[in-house]
Symmetry: C2
Subunit: 442 residues, 2 copies
């Protein structure tokens, strides 16, 4: 048995950026500063600040990205802030693209290092924020001194989460945001102490970082981390219950058998033979369609919506759905596994109870396909079922119900194809997701 | 629209035995009397009495059967009563067999007319009865004057019920006993009045014949008819909810469109082509096994037990059962229709919630066939399913679980065969039941 502290000591060097990288970042920082000084000469009322993990030195070597915030006075309208912000951003970076969060911002590179230039308002108090990014300067203020000396603990945690596929608050992952990681380290003091505590976490915990207190709140469905900067806000709002569960599990496994493996993301090999066997032995279906050109978070929410809608339609057609999933790669994929692949050509149709004279007579006069019988005093008959196979139900769903499957996805999904059984193996960029979905990942 | 009363008038001649038959019955009655006078010379303490529908003149032409009861003093033990009763019975009839109800009795014929000779105790009050047949003399006493002048109303009702397949309290039918028919006619005064009232019946009615009162008893699951001879007894105890519902339905249909058809039992023709189509389009299975030589009521209760047991096993194997049935002809048959014929080669296996550290670790260490995942914070994995097809589950059930399927049936069912799909058409004496079961009876 290797000791937890010992493993952590061995991992630390791997999570710290090396001298060259730090020097490179510093020089890019200087370049940005000098460009900004020049440009902001024309905008004396706009300030700039380095925020985020770079500013607090909690970034991972593979995750260098410099966040520069432009702080506008409140006299600017949203439109002006956006327009001027993007204009300045473009001038700072070597090459750029526009990205969208609460509002558009500039993403680009300087000397090959990734840069975000984000315009926001300079406010006196976080209670008056106008959009989510306005909160970021306050987060930085709250954290910057408290995190000092614990930067590597944050890095350990981030790497640990990345290896488990639960780092990042984006919808695709629904894991732990960088800010959440830093708060947890401030709260528990160290990575090891966090892991020991989290191995006993429950879903109904409230973590009150500001008041240094953990309490149970009955009926709570998922961990609530109160933002010290805005107590109405849950920092873990985007964390899914399943990501939380995965984290708790990994904490336990790490404590039981500490190893550097917990800090390495491995895409395990997929056995085509095994996939083949599973696909023949089970009822699996995949809807494939072209990926619409929209922001990832929007795409994932809509994929999930489409997935739920199709699941519901399958259930309405009396198919028991064992699991559903989605994946966005080169194309978009919706995955379904059902208990059976085909159902009876008839469905049971329940009529009124015998007590109701009028409804009974109406039922008798209307139903002619099959004769009627009673089940515990209630009329029953059969009706012909048109959609007997899972493929038919899914085809029917995407061709006729696509409008309820998400605004941007709808027009792509309606022209999608349904794959079943071994055909699915043709979908190259789905195989890792598929292995995971079928539970055959090593 | 034909008038209800008019139809009834036209039917009455068909339900009354003709003169020849009545004369024949009278002569048999005389023969029995003279034989009994001779025999009972040796048993001065035993009386005899003609009871039942023959004695009250409520028998149908096709249903002539003369019930003779031998009334023993209470000084006789059960064994003596049985022994002497059977001995006398044998001497009365031309040919005989032993039958069993509460205890054995003699069934035979005299000049080709069916006779039951039933020994019972002669009691002062029905409260002290020792077996169900001891109640019969009291029933006769209660009815004999009250039914006078209404005999043909009883006959109409019996024929109406026979045509609907719901006459008789035996387990196979679970319909209306002859005694129940007579009480209902006494209560409602006429067949027509009964039909008009029954068309509005509900399951939670209490019919108190003695007090000439109908009342609703909340929560009651099936009509309760209080025996005027023993108020603790429900005369309709053997009537099933579905037979009741069928009766109510037939009353309504008869009132809406009166016709003599309601008094004629028709076995409608079965289309082999249609059956063939249904069997190909649905998932239908039949267990066939040799008929055990036991009393019909026992057989039917055990068939139902086996049917329920197999249904439960199918459900435990995740098959949704649409309908089950049974039939005893030359062989015994258990019928099953399921929503699908085959299920996935894996089944979902739920583990502990993430909150439980110890159970989670045990789950992780034990489950190796498939990898684990979370569903709303709870562990899930897959396990290999051995029985994927309905046939396999049923085969497995009758070969290994037959002991829980009814004492006498068990050893026959274990050597039964499972038929599915079109094969079922080979089972000649099942076809009418099958058509009914599939809802394709005209």
């Amino acid at each position: 048995m290797t000791d937890v502290a010992e493993v952590i000591q061995r991992v630390i060097p791997n999570v710290i950026p090396d001298e060259n990288l730090v020097r490179k970042a510093k020089s890019v920082e200087e370049t940005i500063k000098s460009r900004l000084e020049t440009i902001l000469g024309n905008y004396p009322e706009i300030e700039y600040r380095f925020l985020g993990s770079y500013a607090r030195n909690t970034w991972l070597p593979e995750g260098l990205e410099i966040d520069v915030f432009l702080l506008f006075p409140e006299s600017y309208s949203f439109e002006e802030l956006e327009k001027v912000g993007i204009e300045i951003g473009k001038q700072i970076v070597d090459s750029y693209e526009l990205r969208y969060a609460a509002h558009p911002y500039v993403h680009g590179t300087v000397d090959g290092v990734e840069i975000d230039v984000v315009p926001c308002y300079r406010l006196k108090s976080p209670e008056r924020i106008k959009s989510a990014v306005d909160r970021t300067p306050f987060h930085h203020e709250w954290l910057k001194d408290r995190i000092k000396g614990k930067e590597n603990e944050v890095r350990l945690l981030k790497r640990f989460l990345k290896a488990g596929g639960i780092y990042g608050a984006e919808y695709r992952v629904r894991g732990f945001s960088g800010y959440l990681c830093e708060l947890l380290i401030v709260f528990y003091g160290s990575f090891e102490n966090l892991v020991r505590n989290a191995s006993r976490w429950r879903r109904d915990l409230v973590i009150d970082v500001e008041n240094e207190e953990v309490r149970v709140k009955k009926g709570l469905q998922n961990v609530l981390v109160i933002d010290p900067v805005d107590r109405k806000r849950n920092v873990a709002a985007n964390l899914s219950v399943d990501s939380l569960a995965k984290f708790i599990e990994r904490c336990r496994l790490f404590l039981e058998e500490p190893s550097e493996e917990f800090f390495i993301a491995r895409e395990s090999p997929v056995s085509a033979e095994r996939l083949n066997y599973e696909l023949e032995n089970r009822f699996v279906y995949v809807v494939v369609f072209e990926r619409p050109p929209i922001v990832e978070d929007n795409l994932y929410t809509q994929l999930e919506r489409a997935e739920k809608r199709i699941k519901k339609l399958l259930e309405e057609n009396e198919f028991q759905v064992m699991r559903t999933g989605h994946h966005a790669g080169q194309n978009c994929y919706l995955l379904f596994e059902t208990l059976s692949g085909e159902v009876s050509g008839v469905k049971k149709h329940y009529g009124p109870k015998i007590e109701s004279y009028e409804n009974s007579m109406r039922f008798i006069r209307k139903n002619r396909e099959y004769s009627r019988f009673f089940e515990n005093g209630r009329y029953v008959t059969y009706r012909t079922r048109r959609l007997k196979k899972v493929e038919q139900v899914i085809e029917h769903a995407i061709r006729t119900q696509h409008e309820s499957m998400g605004k941007d996805v709808s027009d792509y999904i309606r022209y999608g194809s349904v794959y079943s059984g071994r055909e699915i193996l043709k979908l190259d960029d789905l195989l890792h997701t598929l292995a995971d979905f079928l539970g055959v990942k090593e």
